[in-house]
């Protein structure tokens, strides 16, 4: 048992490789059983859960979209009542933004970032477990409320005074505001984990200029989350205070202001778009390199463009308020800044086109989704330039033109790359390939269905059809296009159905993938698929941006980490030089208990402000239990 207590020399290692690996596995693996499943802190297990849950929410949100399209297929239709419809579009929007788009992108990072930077677990893995349970609780809260016919009905933007105490009776808006708290807490937690993982847990030698672009994109995204989400936390807390204890933040007759809500909401809401889009930039950059078999062109410009987008994202929020009656001079500034975002976006597109130009495109399913992304996102970007113009926006604001625009940006710009990314990384996550044939069908149906559904909405908007209407009169010339859109939505839904079928089928029956089925260049492809609990048998030593392409026959690795406890390498922020070994927390049930205590406190606070006071006690107890040392090897130093 030479592995205990003392660190092995390279010579020991070669001799005892198999024994060492068994020990590593025992140290890092999650045992079977319900309690162990609730206690696990393995970033891969939590990442998979997160991704699967987010896709369930996508499917549910899609069903709501189909319900809305059914109601809008005919003028003055009565399939769905006004009240139900308002709940449905509110839950659809809130669900897609807070329960699908942001969590799924962070979930991909939870799974991939530790693998891509060459470490064995994410930083603060218990916080990671906690964030998943809190996210799940927030999702259950929203969907349960819809099932009970008391879902929020004030739009995903919850403008006051409609969402305020006077015009939003019942508990509907409170449920919305607390759902926000749940998802923001979980998003912020993951953002902190990602920042610290990327800053401090990179493999030796991974200097700033060797960080994969996807990891860069998630780093910028995490900072956007950290800077933007406090705004919505403050906004939703003020709303709940106005509603529950009678503060006057948004009441104009007592010195409050309705537009204050909009400022706070959009100060978060616009960066939110980039929180969803930038991870997709990273995914496209990662995949395009693999499917052209050359490095992505323009590493530095791409990274700088993402940082520029992240900074600019905070200077755009007023373009959601161009018709609210703010001074024109201010609005003009926001026109210019909103237009300026086209420059980093253009830079990204041109770099990808250059990569395609010089490489040899391999038309596998992920590549098809990249092409679909390029076509769709360019349209969405150009309509974005249009709505940045104040006069243009006064006509299309709050119409179906904007509905078309942001679905082009969010589905085209984010979901297409995401589906491509699922096809791309599925072999890594499950060890099995997805079906190329079904993948092509899914792409064809999704791409065609998407454009047939959303392109006509541009025209409907210019024709004067406002958003968020549950019906429209027959004498207006909107009926034909609406029926067409509703029928096309069925094609889009069929595409997603094929995709889901492919996922479910391939999990069990897909052909085995092997470690690196696409001949990709980054570290997550260096280990078997699916990755063992400890990720890397030895922590890799990184010598280039494409370690798997440049290291030849054998990957350079480092030895010397203890095998009998969970241990990681901490490295310096810029150069990636190893500074210390560090233990990584063991599995624990406390994050789950803390999440339950927190959920009870937050949900009870909808009904009484005192719940915050009494509910804080169990939360404090569970947190203390969480951090109290358990005399495991991880506590040694």
């Amino acid at each position: 048992m030479t592995w205990f207590g003392k660190t092995p020399s390279p010579a020991d290692l070669a001799a005892g490789d198999e024994k060492a690996e068994a020990l590593l596995r025992r140290t890092w693996s999650t045992p079977a059983g319900v309690l162990a499943a609730l206690s696990t802190v393995d970033h891969k297990i939590i990442g998979r859960r997160y991704i699967a849950t987010a896709f369930v929410f996508l499917m549910l949100g899609g069903v709501l979209a189909l319900a809305m399209r059914l109601q809008l297929a005919f003028p003055e239709a009565r399939f769905i009542s006004a009240d139900r419809y308002n709940q449905i579009f509110t839950v659809h929007g809130s669900n897609m933004m807070f329960l699908f788009a942001v969590p799924v992108m962070e979930a991909m990072a939870v799974y991939l970032v530790p693998l891509m930077v060459g470490t064995r677990n994410i930083a603060f893995p218990r916080l990671n477990a906690f964030s998943y349970w809190i996210f799940l609780a927030g999702g259950l809260l929203l969907w349960t409320s819809l099932a009970l016919d008391t879902a929020p009905d004030v739009g995903w933007f919850a403008y006051v005074p409609l969402a305020g105490p006077q015009y939003g009776p019942g508990k509907r808006a409170d449920i919305w505001a607390q759902m926000i708290t749940f998802t923001e807490v979980s998003a912020l937690a993951v953002a902190v984990e990602i920042v610290v993982t990327v800053f401090k847990l990179r493999a030796p030698g991974m200097s700033l200029d060797r960080i994969p672009i996807f990891v860069w994109s998630m780093l910028v995204t995490a900072f956007l989350v950290i800077m933007a989400m406090p705004a919505i936390m403050l906004a939703s807390s003020s709303l709940i205070l106005d509603r529950l204890v009678g503060t006057q933040f948004f009441n104009p007759s007592e010195g409050g202001d309705a537009l204050l809500w909009q400022h706070l909401f959009w100060f978060f809401g616009h960066p939110e778009v980039y929180i969803i889009f930038l991870p997709a930039v990273g995914m496209v950059s990662a995949m395009i390199s693999t499917f052209t078999q050359r490095p992505t062109f323009g590493y530095l410009p791409l990274v700088l463009a993402m940082i520029a987008t992240g900074v600019l994202a905070f200077g755009l929020w007023v373009h959601h308020m161009f018709v609210a009656g703010l001074p024109r001079v201010g609005s003009s500034f926001f026109t210019a800044s909103s237009m300026a975002i086209a420059i980093p976006a253009g830079t990204q597109i041109f770099c990808w086109l250059a990569t395609l130009w010089d490489g040899r495109p391999i038309f596998k399913t992920p590549m098809l989704f990249i092409i679909g992304f390029l076509i769709t996102f360019v349209i969405g970007g150009l309509t974005g330039v249009m709505v940045a113009s104040v006069p243009f926006d006064t006509q299309v604001h709050d119409t179906y033109f904007v509905v078309a625009h942001f679905h082009y940006v969010l589905i085209g710009g984010s979901v297409f790359p995401l589906i491509g990314a699922i096809y791309y990384w599925f072999p890594k996550m499950t060890g099995r390939m997805m079906s190329e044939r079904l993948g092509r069908w899914a792409f064809g149906l999704i791409f065609t269905g998407f454009h047939l559904t959303f392109f006509p909405m541009h025209m409907l908007g210019l024709q004067g059809m406002p958003r968020r209407v549950y019906t429209y009169p027959p004498e207006l010339p909107w009926a034909g296009l609406n029926l067409f859109v509703s029928l096309s939505a069925v094609i889009l839904a069929a595409g997603f159905l094929v995709f889901f079928i492919d996922v479910l089928r391939s999990v069990r029956h897909g052909p085995p993938a092997g470690p690196n089925p696409w001949n990709a260049s980054t570290l997550e492809w260096a280990m078997p698929s699916p990755p063992p609990p400890y990720n890397f048998r030895h922590i890799p030593v990184v010598e280039s941006l494409e370690p798997l392409w440049t290291s030849g026959e054998a990957l350079p690795v480092a030895t010397g980490l203890r095998l009998d406890r969970r241990e990681l390498v901490v490295s310096s922020v810029t150069a990636g030089e190893p500074e210390a070994r560090e233990s990584s927390p063991a599995d624990s049930i406390w994050p789950f208990l803390a999440a339950i205590a927190t959920s009870i406190m937050l949900i009870a606070s909808i009904f009484s402000p005192w719940a915050v006071v009494w509910g804080a006690i169990p939360v404090a107890i569970t947190l203390t239990g969480w951090f109290w040392p358990k005399q495991t090897p991880e506590d040694e130093s």
Binding site: P8, S9, P10, A123, F124, L188, V192, V195, V196, L201, P204, I226, M227, P230, A231, L234, S238, L241, D242, G246, T247, Q248, F249, E254, G255, G256, D257, L260, H263, L264, F267, M527, R537, H538, I539, V541, E553, A554, L555, P556, V557, A558, T559, G560, L561, V570, S572, V573, P578, E579, A580, R581, E582, A620, W628, P629, Q631, D635, E636, S637
Partner: protein
């Protein structure tokens, strides 16, 4: 994939201190989140002020005494706080224990003038938007003081237990001291906002 050994990490320390500690970076990230929250709350204060015909709305400016005592107390607490941090770096268990007890007491003491600050505002949170924002600013900061007191008490208990003499614990003490400095630092602009801006 085949591997070749290029580096031996066994000589590295088994726990990172200072900027090599993960909790240091985690604490910093959370301070960034909360700092952004404070900054936005202050922005809301000035936004509401810019809309109001007079400020404060239907209330005299808050009484200075309690808030000023608290400010002085907080500033004073930075000295023992820095000392605790230094002793933790030196791994001096006895001094750290004593320092944590002092810090916990100082934190609890700070709650006394804080309790008098709320009535000193001369307005209730539900009177008008001015009342709402000053109560929120004060409440937000009080939550931070309470959180840090709980953290300090738990840490003090740990330091008196068998788990105390451990590099990891000393790191936690340093991070806790860092966080207390943050709590003091964020109070200064809030103090200026709540007590002095209405007097301008």
């Amino acid at each position: 994939m085949k591997e070749r050994i290029a580096l031996d990490l066994s000589k590295l320390p088994p726990h990172g201190m200072g900027s090599a500690s993960l909790t240091f970076w985690g604490t910093s990230a959370f301070m960034l989140i909360e700092g952004t929250g404070f900054a936005l709350a202050i922005a809301v204060y000035f936004y509401l002020m810019s809309l109001a015909p007079q400020w404060p709305i239907k209330a005299p400016p808050p009484d200075l005494l309690a808030g000023t005592i608290l400010t002085l107390l907080l500033l004073l607490s930075v000295v023992p706080n820095m000392l605790v941090s230094r002793w933790a770096k030196q791994r001096d268990l006895r001094k750290v224990r004593a320092g944590l007890v002092v810090m916990a007491i100082l934190g609890l003491l700070a709650l006394i003038p804080r309790a008098f600050e709320f009535p000193a505002l001369h307005i209730s949170w539900d009177d008008n938007a001015y009342g709402s924002i000053v109560w929120t600013l004060l409440g937000l900061h009080t939550t931070h003081i309470v959180t840090d007191i709980v953290d300090t008490v738990v840490l003090a208990c740990l330091m008196f237990s068998k788990h105390g003499d451990n590099a990891r614990r000393y790191g936690d003490v340093e991070d806790n001291a860092l966080y207390w400095n943050f709590v003091v630092l964020t109070w200064l602009p809030l103090y200026g906002c709540i007590y002095w801006v209405p007097r301008l």
